[in-house]
């Protein structure tokens, strides 16, 4: 009953390569999928749309960045800029009267094109220099957004997003918007789960480990870097568009500034490089942490009778956010995904753990 690995013997490569070699994992995924479907019934709509919905959308973004950073090993510090391209082109297309399905596609494709420009840097350099160039490109994108009234809808302005609609049906209810985010997140997750098992996924991992060595083995490393950037940018573009369409309801340059790029990368690192479950946990931790820390600090201050200034309270979440990143990298550089994997490996063989060594 406890020994989850009992009677699991793979006799063919096909069965060994199954998406869930252990039935317990599959059951857990099905359980959470059902929980996700039933969430509007279980969670009050205020919490649903202010916590669960952004969490799912950010998770999709984190998975996209994980594709390029965790799988293909290419540092990307301009992810928010790519999201901005998708968000703005989608909103503009939707305002122009194009149906949302096609508008999202336009957003994703235009992000892909711009995102592939980042990949041309990856042809020339890698590692630190790639990170710095993508960071510089993020600043260029910020500048373009704030300085071109045609894109941003005026100087210091926010672009109103039209009502979201799918198949001609306007979606305005809280549950409806939640299902849109949930559906997109599930779609990206399925894509990423399957990526591991395909030749593309293995090629990306080969490029990550050592691109020259991969090239010697016949993996065209530049082609795969380009594919990784284009695919992750597509995910980023659609995610950015959905973020605006279902959560912010208007697009503003600050929503896609450099600190957002760093935040998404922090989610990836804290979740664990190349870990899908970790992406969910990393996004949840980073999104929820500021509110929780603020509550803790103000209640502790009340308890002790210490008078904390507004300015102090405003900056404590930032300090805690930085401390969280630092502590995680010190304690477990592979992130929450690795922590979970350790627990899972232990429980998998639990009563008989002395047998597996």
């Amino acid at each position: 009953m406890f020994y989850r690995l009992s009677s699991i013997r793979h006799n063919s490569y096909a069965s060994d390569r199954k998406m869930f070699p252990v039935p317990a994992d599959r059951n857990a995924v099905v359980f959470f999928l059902l929980l996700g479907c039933a969430a509007p019934l279980l969670i009050p709509s205020l919490y649903l749309n202010s916590y669960v919905l952004p969490w799912l959308i950010w998770t999709a973004a984190v998975l996209g960045l994980n594709l390029v950073t965790g799988w293909a090993g290419q540092l990307h510090l301009g992810y928010a800029a790519v999201m901005a391209v998708g968000a703005y082109s989608t909103v503009h297309a939707a305002r122009f009267g194009i149906p949302w399905e096609f508008a999202l596609l336009i957003g994703g494709l235009s992000s892909s094109v711009i995102g592939s420009l980042f990949a041309f840097t990856a042809l020339r350099v890698k590692g630190l220099y790639l990170a710095l160039t993508t960071l510089a490109m993020q600043f260029v994108m910020d500048w373009v957004l704030t300085h071109s009234p045609t894109i941003a809808g005026g100087s210091h302005a926010a672009l109103q997003s039209p009502t979201f609609a799918l198949l001609g049906q306007e979606i305005t209810s809280d549950a409806g918007l939640y299902y849109v985010a949930f559906g997109w997140c599930v779609l990206v997750t399925i894509f990423m789960l399957n990526l591991k098992r395909t030749g593309l996924g293995r090629a990306l991992v080969a490029v990550r480990e050592k691109d020259f060595a991969a090239a010697i083995l016949g993996v065209n490393s530049f082609y795969y870097k380009l594919v990784a950037f284009a695919a992750s940018s597509f995910i980023a573009g659609v995610t950015g568009a959905l973020l605006v369409a279902t959560f912010y309801f208007l697009a503003a340059p600050e929503q896609f500034a450099v600190n957002v790029s760093i935040q998404v990368l922090a989610m990836v690192i804290i979740g664990g490089l190349g870990s899908i479950l970790g992406s969910y946990m990393g996004a949840a931790l980073i999104l929820l942490m500021p509110g929780v820390v603020n509550k803790i600090f103000s209640s502790v201050a009340d308890l002790v009778g210490l008078e904390l200034g507004i300015e102090t309270l405003a900056h404590i979440p930032n300090a805690a956010y930085g401390a969280l990143i630092v502590i995680f990298l010190m304690v477990e550089p592979l992130g929450l995904g690795k922590l979970y994997a350790n627990v899972r490996d232990y429980l998998m063989v639990w009563p008989f753990d002395q047998l597996k060594k």
Binding site: L128, A136, W143, F212, H315, G322, L329
Partner: protein, 295 residues
């Protein structure tokens, strides 16, 4: 075109550029010894300025006592950061090291502002704001002082690299495995370079705090410092100084012409463009060492 105006732009740009070099020198010191790109240098600069203010304004001590105290404190802060945060990550992928320094940047900024508050306050270094006339050119006095400090630090660091301790640092930078094998403590050397970079951060914080007030935006100097460091070569102190002058002149003269075309705010664009072009054309910078990778 008015030649006096153009030369004024050039000279002022070069002076500002030397102030950027201050940030870059801190970055280069750390990168040279341990190949860690310290994205927290901006936050260290800010912290340095706030620590100086904590003694000079809050306690009312003279600035000339506060600065040495801040230097000592920041030296140990830098050593401590290396000891507790970065040493564990040695040999890890660069993405983790980058994220660690970014996390430190966020943490230091948040902590500094939580303790001292974010409102801008003056450094009161005692340099007058009256412009200095060189012929017909108007120059800012604080920029001249800052440029002098940058050059003095450059000379001091160059001299330091000739001492016994400095030679050890150079050996570590050349080949840390070989240094280890002949009995140089690489850990202590890297810690020392973090301490030195933090001292440079105090100097940067004092000068820039005088230029633009002590506030959060001091940490934004990081991007300019990074650009200068990359342009000069991430492991070359001389490169940091030369590239600082180049970037300062480009930014000052370029933004004068570009602002009319693009409608203002082109300084950041020029900095980002210089960074991208440097990496695309000559990733190891003007004076940096070109590392050849083995498979």
């Amino acid at each position: 075109m008015d030649w006096i105006f153009l030369s004024e732009l050039t000279v002022n740009g070069a002076l500002t550029g030397l102030l950027y070099s201050l940030v870059a020198i801190g970055l280069v010191l750390i990168y040279k010894s341990s190949a860690v790109p310290n994205l927290a240098q901006g936050a260290l600069t800010m912290l340095g300025a706030y620590v100086v203010l904590a003694f000079s304004h809050n306690l009312g001590w003279s600035l000339w006592i506060a600065i040495p105290i801040a230097i000592v404190i920041m030296f140990f802060v830098g050593m401590g950061i290396e000891r507790f945060a970065l040493r564990k990550l040695a040999g890890r992928p660069i993405v983790m090291i980058l994220m660690m320094t970014m996390g430190l940047d966020i943490f230091l900024r948040g902590t500094t502002l939580a303790i001292w508050g974010g409102s801008s306050r003056p450094m009161n270094l005692g340099v007058t704001y009256d412009p200095y006339f060189l012929g017909d050119m108007l120059l800012s006095r604080i920029h001249i002082v800052g440029a002098m400090v940058a050059l003095a630090l450059f000379v001091a660091i160059m001299l330091f690299f000739r001492t016994r301790l400095g030679i050890r640092l150079r050996a570590i930078s050349d080949d840390y495995l070989a240094s280890w094998s002949i009995g140089i403590s690489v850990e202590r050397g890297v810690g020392l370079s973090w301490g030195l970079a933090s001292i440079v951060a105090v100097a940067t914080g004092v000068i820039w705090g005088e230029v633009q007030g002590v506030e959060q935006s001091l940490s934004l100097l990081l991007l300019k410092g990074l650009t200068v460091a990359v342009l000069g070569g991430l492991d070359s102190i001389l490169g940091a100084v030369v590239a600082g002058i180049i970037l300062g002149v480009l930014e000052s003269v370029g933004s004068f012409y570009l602002d009319d075309i693009v409608g203002g705010g082109s300084r950041d664009l020029i900095v980002a463009a210089v960074l991208i072009l440097t990496v695309m054309i000559r990733p190891h910078g003007l004076f940096g060492r070109h590392d050849i990778e083995r498979v």
